[in-house]
């Protein structure tokens, strides 16, 4: 019982001491007045504001660039989609019309560069090449 009665009294004492501590820590008017009347305080403030203004303007420049980039994102995405669509259509049409084969392009059969080159002109067969050579030789013989 006595302990329970003592507890509020102790807390009251601690609260009062706490208030005194807070007031003591906060009583600093002399230094505050000295700081407020410090020479060149306004000049330093203006310098700080000028520096902050410059920093913000620099930041705004970057923001403007980011804004332009942000606005360009939809257009760039549209261009990318169109390019992809064109790539797909161009790819299939080449395969059907000119007979491109992946094997020829990738050289899986060890055909090398030559085969890729000749693949572009696959309409010319070996017989055609031979016929051209033979006809050239015949022409030279005729001379």
């Amino acid at each position: 019982m006595a302990g329970e009665e003592k507890k509020p009294r102790l807390e009251g004492r601690l609260d009062r001491l706490g208030r005194t501590v807070v007031r003591a820590a906060a009583s600093n008017d002399g230094e505050a007045d000295a700081a407020a009347s410090s020479s060149f305080l306004y000049a330093r403030l203006r310098a700080r504001i000028a520096a902050e203004t410059a920093r913000r303007e620099e930041g705004e420049g970057w923001l403007a660039v980011l804004g332009v980039v942000w606005r360009a994102v939809p257009a760039m995405a549209l261009v990318a989609v169109l390019a992809f669509a064109m790539f797909l259509t161009a790819d299939t049409s080449t395969q059907t019309q000119q007979g491109f084969s992946d094997e020829a392009l990738l050289g899986r059969n060890g055909a090398g560069v030559e085969q890729v080159v000749f693949t572009d002109a696959r309409s010319i067969s070996n017989d055609d090449v031979l016929a051209t050579i033979i006809s050239d030789e015949n022409r030279e013989d005729a001379r």
Partner: protein
């Protein structure tokens, strides 16, 4: 010859803060200097509640007025508030930010209270028990600063506003933009934490 001794010279009415703010927003730098000169002491006194060193107080004054300068267009849109309370709010928030920054630094150790100072606290508590009156006791400023550095920044802010500034709960709520119940809860917790900090010396 006319006697002019009893004729009062009409002095121009002092420009109000709101008018000065409007002029600053319009680009008049002299008006900002006038605002600074009017309110710098109040801002320095607020900073002095939390910081001991003159350099720290000057730093808070500069920080507060820099923030105020860039936020002046916001203030000019709020015709209901006074500039003094608005700049005081900025100053308290600047102090709060600085307290939080200092709290993160490792040098604010709790073991700074010397045995002599601890004995002093114990003596004050005993003096109160014997009817000596703790309220009237002069506490060493250094010790008080050390004790308060043990508190969280928001606890210290609320306690200084209540006990040192003598502000009411409603005034704190209005100044900081908090609800009344939030201020009450914070004050209650802050007092409990300060009690715990002091109890360690018993």
């Amino acid at each position: 010859m006319a006697d002019n001794s009893d004729i009062e010279v009409a002095r121009p009415a002092e420009t109000s803060d709101v008018e000065l703010v409007a002029r600053v927003v319009g680009g008049d730098e002299r008006a900002f200097e006038e605002l600074f000169n009017r309110h710098r002491r109040r801002v320095a006194l607020i900073a002095g509640r939390f910081f001991r060193q003159r350099e720290q107080i000057e730093e808070i004054v500069q920080e507060s007025f820099t923030k105020a300068f860039f936020a002046l267009p916001d203030f000019s849109n709020r015709r209901d508030a006074s500039f003094a309370s608005w700049v005081a709010r900025i100053a308290f928030n600047s102090c709060y930010d600085e307290l939080r920054r200092l709290k993160r630094r490792p040098e604010s150790a709790l073991s700074e209270v010397t045995e002599e100072e601890a004995a002093w606290v114990r003596e004050r508590l005993r003096a109160d028990e014997a009817g000596g009156g703790v309220e009237s006791a002069a506490v060493s400023r250094d010790l008080a600063g050390k004790l308060l550095s043990r508190l969280e920044p928001e606890d210290r802010l609320v306690l200084v506003m209540l006990d040192a500034e003598g502000m009411s709960v409603a005034e704190i709520a209005g100044l900081m933009g908090w609800s009344v119940s939030k201020v009450k809860v914070r004050a209650h917790r802050a007092r409990a934490r300060l009690r715990r900090a002091l109890k360690r010396f018993l």
